[in-house]
Symmetry: none
Subunit: 418 residues, 2 copies
């Protein structure tokens, strides 16, 4: 079953508010076998609302609106849609009593300015809003179905989950659901990954594949369209296996897996502890590792060696090496990794030294130049990269690159097939 969304609000058009509601509606509808085929955002103008809803009904006959149901004067969704259906607004005593009780409970008087919230287009089903004051409305008529939901995200989400989705399921077609899974990759760009995938779409059909490039990673989303829940999962299992084979070592997990979390888990299984020595990333690697709940049994901490003095005093990088080779160099990356492993008594250590920009680049060492150092159980390796992007991009890519590089080495050291 196809739906359209009409999101209403000047705040959305101006960009003052980011529309998370439309995404949440899409996510909530998929398991009920319904999909969103178009979204339209308009301002708080009756004519615009009528026009957008009318066009959407002509295309799909199923529309969900969000926004414009509150008590303030710019909330005119209900009126505009009632006009479209050719029905009057009736004052609903049950809704009014609900509002009166709610306001009494919140120890406020019931302001007259809320009376319009108890008005209901004739023939509409009221979807009780236990999470706020404006009720949702389910209006079916000759033009089709319009579900009106408030714009407050928490109220909208709860009404979708508890009132709308069950009714959509009863409309039928819920035996065919949309199921999806994300495979996560790092250390490889979108184009190279696309080459590796080759004709995979033929292999995994009817499952489809989408590339979702992030700041320093590429997610691969597999989607099985309109199957029973069980068939969908079986199709996804088969497709995921095929994609994993082609992605090889670059695939580090799926769905909510976090690269730092996966690395910590590998180290934990190997019984090893981890330390970091960061120059240009300034603490970002440590921040990501410590963001994972329970990281403290593996992650010891580290040194933010931003100034060269700190590379010397806390990590033992020789001053003459810093002068001769420069802070962004292979020997310094190696000495930083070795130094932090020694001083923190860690089995594993990651180091990063680089030029994040915007200044500091030279012909030899342009902005984006990064040396990674890796210390694993007594031996130390390095890797050189030139990352694209601005300061933020270089730092994020250097952070993800360091985590992925360590994961790769740890897998290799533990003899794991990659």
């Amino acid at each position: 079953m196809d739906f359209e969304i009409v999101a209403i609000g000047n705040e959305l058009l101006l960009g003052f508010t980011v529309d998370s509601n439309s995404a949440d509606i899409g996510l909530a509808l998929a398991p009920a076998g319904a999909r969103v085929v178009r979204r339209t955002t308009v301002g708080d103008t009756p004519a615009e609302i009528r026009r957008a809803v009318s066009e959407a009904l002509q295309r799909t006959r199923h529309v969900i609106t969000t926004g414009g149901l509150g008590p303030t004067k710019d909330d005119i969704t209900k009126k505009a849609i009632a006009e479209l259906f050719g029905v009057p607004l009736d004052f609903d005593d049950d809704v009014w009593q609900f509002l009166v009780d709610r306001y009494a409970r919140l120890i406020r008087r019931s302001p007259d300015s809320n009376r319009c919230q108890a008005e209901v287009p004739r023939g509409a089903t009221v979807l009780t809003n236990r999470w706020g004051s404006a009720p949702g409305l389910w209006l079916e008529g000759e033009p089709g179905l319009v579900v009106m939901l408030p714009g407050v995200p928490q109220e909208m989400r709860n009404l979708m989950a508890h009132e709308v989705v069950p009714r959509v399921r009863r409309l039928g077609a819920a035996d065919a659901v949309i199921a999806s899974r994300v495979l996560r990759t790092a250390g490889i760009g979108e184009s190279s990954l696309a080459e590796r995938m080759g004709n995979i779409e033929d292999v995994i059909a009817p499952v489809t594949l989408a590339f979702l490039p992030g700041e320093a990673w590429v997610d691969l989303r597999l989607t099985a369209w309109k199957h029973s829940a069980d068939d969908g999962q079986a199709l996804l299992d088969r497709a995921a296996q095929a994609v994993r084979e082609r992605a090889g070592e670059f695939c580090f997990g799926q769905d909510d897996d976090d690269l730092a979390g996966v690395l910590l888990e590998h180290a934990r299984r190997a019984g090893m502890t981890l330390a970091v020595a960061e120059s240009c990333t300034g603490g970002q690697v440590g921040q990501r590792l410590s963001a994972i709940p329970g990281s403290s049994d593996v992650f010891r901490g580290g040194v933010i060696a931003y100034h060269d003095d700190v590379k010397h005093s806390l990590l033992g990088v020789p001053r003459e090496m810093l002068e001769r080779e420069g802070a962004v160099s292979e020997p310094v990356a190696r000495a930083m990794a070795q130094g932090v492993a020694d001083r923190l008594g860690a089995d594993l250590a990651i180091s990063i030294t680089g030029i994040a920009g915007p200044d500091g680049g030279t012909d030899d060492k342009p902005v984006g130049t990064v040396w990674h150092g890796y210390h694993i159980a007594g031996s130390t390796g390095t890797r050189h990269r030139v990352y694209p992007g601005d300061r933020h991009g270089v730092r994020t890519r250097a952070t993800m690159g360091a985590l992925f590089g360590m994961l790769r080495r740890l897998r290799a050291a533990s003899g794991e097939a990659v």
Copy 2:
């Protein structure tokens, strides 16, 4: 001048990605005197893209698209719109050379799968994308104007700021603009701030005020609607002064000001250097400070003292203090700040030790308990807080709280009126 946005991507309709681009485009257009009157989101289907762009052109003649310009085969925006304009796609040697250079710089080969990124609808102006690979396109013709931008948010934002907005200004009609300014506050909650503001809306009218609470701060947006650019700025100046007076020391800057950047600037003016010692935040304070370009003249670095051994070995916190008081305690916070200042030779030091959760809380020290230590030119102070929220929230609030606490103390020490 009225614009419509057409956002393209199955991912958006499915709700897998939240569309922040459309909001960012609205924000970027307003100061140029252009407003977004409608947004449409469609999937990666040529017919749908053509239909949505064609309808939008008929309504406003000015359309910005986002998404669908990458190298993978589901990127079909360019082709669909070229068809709509009745023009062929030409292979553009300059764009190709730019891509080749970019890939050469990144020390990769130039994969053939990227050749289609060098195709340009005949007559279109190429908007060079220095932040990624897919160029933006500015296509004017009989149907109107279509600006095609990539969907990667950072690339889209930079292309808007550097290539699109200047061209929109030249299109004219900038006589009635929407001007807005954000005043940034930290260290105070939304309701306390609202109490401080009181009847401010009467004072600053016709400028309006909106509260934008973030994770660990509250932004105040002032908006002047539909005035000349000069009048708008004068109204905002007056309103900003009134709001700043009521917000007092909690207002730390405006618009793009970053709390870490403001702190660094204060330290720079005082000729002081800064170090950090982080336990539960694991590097986040260092990460934020080093994110600011040019931070290296003030920020020396620090120690991520996640494990208690590191608090002792690298910061000199006595083992018996750690055992007697516990790692999350006032004396340990003090010793960490003192220790990192001494070892890094810094004038200023921030320390953080706390319980970010989800585990590790006790009746005495619940999850969210944080001790901050502050070292300023020889003397050390502390502050105790219990932050609400999950692990992510506690860590972010602790980070912002530490930066704001240091800014406050530095201002007081330098005798600045707060």
